[in-house]
């Protein structure tokens, strides 16, 4: 009797806390909808009650898990309209529910490009091995070849990248990030174009930019 009362009180307290949390942070409300039913599933002694809440959880889960994917992949392209009202006030693809977007290799064309990093010392350029720029600690695949260095071309990341490079390679005076582009692999696998994207001394603030 005491155990049941304690369990019920605990569950009620948790539900009140959960209500307060989603009231304060509305964006979380869909992603925490599964919490109350799963609590009951774990704590309920009555099998029928447990089964009802399992069903509720499954419905919520399938709906939210499939919602963004179905909307993004099927409804919006076919009907050529967005569904803001249908989105249940969701920010696009947050927290647990995987974006429909980053499905790999869905569109591969015959061009390829990658970023290169060079160190500059006494006016001379030194090519840096990308596996030493980002020490590749992945197992069973190569993170560099996977394209992880693509982030250094993002304008929002250049300052932090340059600062980090000065700390990583203190022996160099400066760094330059270039891009190599193979425009038409079908025509030739070996012809590429190269250019410089930015130089760290041009993007870092004049004072205090370097450690």
């Amino acid at each position: 009797m005491q155990t049941n009362l304690g369990r019920s009180l605990g569950l009620s307290a948790f539900l009140i806390l959960w209500g307060a949390l989603v009231y304060k942070f509305p964006v979380w409300w869909v992603y925490t909808l599964t919490v109350p039913p799963i609590l009951v599933v774990n704590l309920a002694k009555d099998k029928r009650l447990r089964d009802h809440f399992i069903s509720l959880f499954v419905v919520i889960w399938l709906m939210v898990f499939m919602l963004n994917t179905t909307r993004h992949l099927l409804l919006e392209p076919f009907l050529k309209r967005s569904f803001p009202g249908f989105s249940l006030a969701l920010a696009v693809n947050k927290f647990l529910f995987p974006p429909a977007g980053p499905i790999m290799f869905f569109n591969v064309d015959d061009s390829f490009g990658f970023y290169r990093v060079s160190g500059i010392k006494n006016g001379k350029l030194f090519d840096l091995n990308p596996h030493e720029v980002i020490l590749n600690r992945t197992l069973f695949y190569d993170n560099i070849h996977r394209g992880v260095l693509g982030a250094i071309g993002d304008p929002g990341s250049v300052v932090s990248f340059c600062r980090w490079m000065h700390g990583r390679f203190p022996e160099f005076d400066d760094f330059a990030v270039g891009v190599r582009q193979y425009p038409a692999l079908k025509k030739s696998r070996y012809v590429y174009q190269e250019g410089w994207l930015y130089r760290c001394r041009d993007v870092l603030p004049p004072q205090g930019g370097r450690p």
Binding site: P102, D110, F114
Partner: protein, 428 residues
């Protein structure tokens, strides 16, 4: 209603889910844990960081970005510990939840290393499902040993977690294929596989055996691409239809092996998805297979574990061996049961039998102490991962010493502090 009951609510053995827990933990560990050896480079202040604004809200990212370095270090330690506990199934649900929270925390802190990828996001979703209930800790776990339930392998649970994992992988295959043709895919209009074969050294394509052959045959690449896409479309249906299920599991697993061998993509695909495909095998079939093996072993000559039934520690150890003895390969024999020890093995006397645990093989070989466990790691599935440890060079010297120390001080591991020198007696 009956269909819903059969799909999600019916109670079925959770042994498949328990095995999948190990695969999920291995996939998470292999992907994330190497980065924690160099915290300064990836996660502490001064590291180069990128943030996944698609997965997280801005407020969450800002909150996590304010983490002091000491908190990051503590979080990394907590993650390591919780990951190991989840892997071995120690307080499975709690450790899995803490591990998931840690993985999400570090993902928010810096997604540069882990990287925004469908594989990683789906792994987090998978672990979320595994942490919702304690079902994945029912077997192949320390939790099962703590409960000392010899029938833990046939524990029945509502099937909904396993079913949702099945739906997850099936829809992943389906939408991956769908996206290849619509709305922005070019697998019908272009020749993506051929272009991948032409990538330079810095590209995603590995230098596998047939790469140059495929690069020279664009028509073949196109047909292969159509075949792969068709397979991804068909797989969900083949998996859910019983007559084609096993073929679909083999085909899907083969696909992920090929992916690992040919492209530099996150190895999560290889470590998580083939075990997730195994979740389509009906767990009652697995249990029936185990029961048949147990019946066969019971009918034949089994290895005998000889133990001191008057020693509480020994009795507890034997109970745990019984839990781990999935296929019923062992017969537990109390040396005080009255059976003639000399008839079992000429080298066995009561004094020798009482000194340590013994294993008598059907072909007559007798093992004692540490060497019993060295034999058992080949017989008990839960001990398979420890094979390397028990056969590590030097283990034949260290192992017996460790066994003798534990045997001598076993009261330290037991609630009965009076137990010394085989003098543990159960209170009547």
């Amino acid at each position: 209603m009956k269909l819903w009951q059969r799909l999600f609510l019916e109670e079925r053995p959770s042994i498949g889910l328990a095995f999948f827990r190990i695969a999920a933990a291995v996939a998470a560990g292999l992907h994330a844990c190497p980065s924690f050896f160099h915290l300064k480079e990836f996660y502490l202040s001064g590291a180069f960081k990128t943030y996944n604004g698609n997965f997280f809200t801005v407020e969450s990212l800002q909150l996590v970005a304010r983490s002091p370095d000491w908190l990051v270090v503590v979080a990394a330690c907590v993650l390591w510990v919780s990951w190991f506990c989840f892997l071995v199934g120690f307080f499975t649900q709690a450790s899995g939840s803490v591990m998931l929270a840690g993985l999400i925390y570090f993902y928010a802190l810096n997604d540069f290393y882990i990287g925004s990828s469908l594989a990683w996001d789906l792994l987090l979703v998978t672990i979320f499902l595994l942490c919702l209930t304690p079902y994945p800790g029912d077997y192949f776990s320390v939790d099962a040993l703590r409960r000392a339930d010899a029938d833990a392998w046939r524990t029945r649970r509502p099937f909904f977690i396993q079913r949702l994992l099945q739906i997850q992988i099936a829809t992943t295959f389906f939408f991956t294929a769908f996206y290849k043709i619509y709305p922005n895919g070019n697998w019908l209009t272009g020749n993506p596989l051929y272009y991948l074969m032409l990538y330079p050294h810095e590209g995603t394509t590995k230098y596998f055996l047939l790469r140059e052959f495929l690069a020279a045959h664009p028509a073949l690449c196109y047909k292969l691409g159509i075949f792969i896409m068709s397979m991804e479309f068909l797989l969900p249906f083949l998996l859910f239809w019983p007559p084609t299920r096993i073929s679909a599991i083999i085909l899907g697993s083969f696909f992920h092996v090929c992916l690992l061998l040919t492209l530099d993509v996150p190895a999560i695909f290889f470590f998580l998805y083939p075990p997730q495909l195994l979740l389509f095998i009906h767990p009652d079939k697995i249990v029936r297979y185990i029961e048949r093996k147990r019946e066969l072993n019971a009918a034949g000559k089994r290895s005998v574990i000889l133990y001191d039934g008057k020693c509480q520690f020994c009795r507890a150890s034997v109970r745990q061996l019984a839990v781990m003895d999935l296929f019923g390969t062992l017969r537990m024999l109390d040396l005080h049961s009255g059976e003639d020890l000399a008839a079992l093995h000429p080298g066995l006397t009561k004094e020798r039998a009482v000194s340590q645990l013994h294993l008598l093989e059907p072909y007559g070989e007798l093992y004692g102490g540490f060497f019993v466990f060295r034999r058992l790691v080949w017989k008990l599935p839960m001990l398979f991962p420890w094979v390397a440890l028990f056969y590590f060079p030097g283990s034949a010297i260290v192992g017996p010493w460790a066994y003798r120390w534990v045997a001598k001080n076993r009261y330290l591991f037991h609630s009965n502090r009076v137990c010394r020198d085989n003098a543990c007696y159960i209170k009547k």
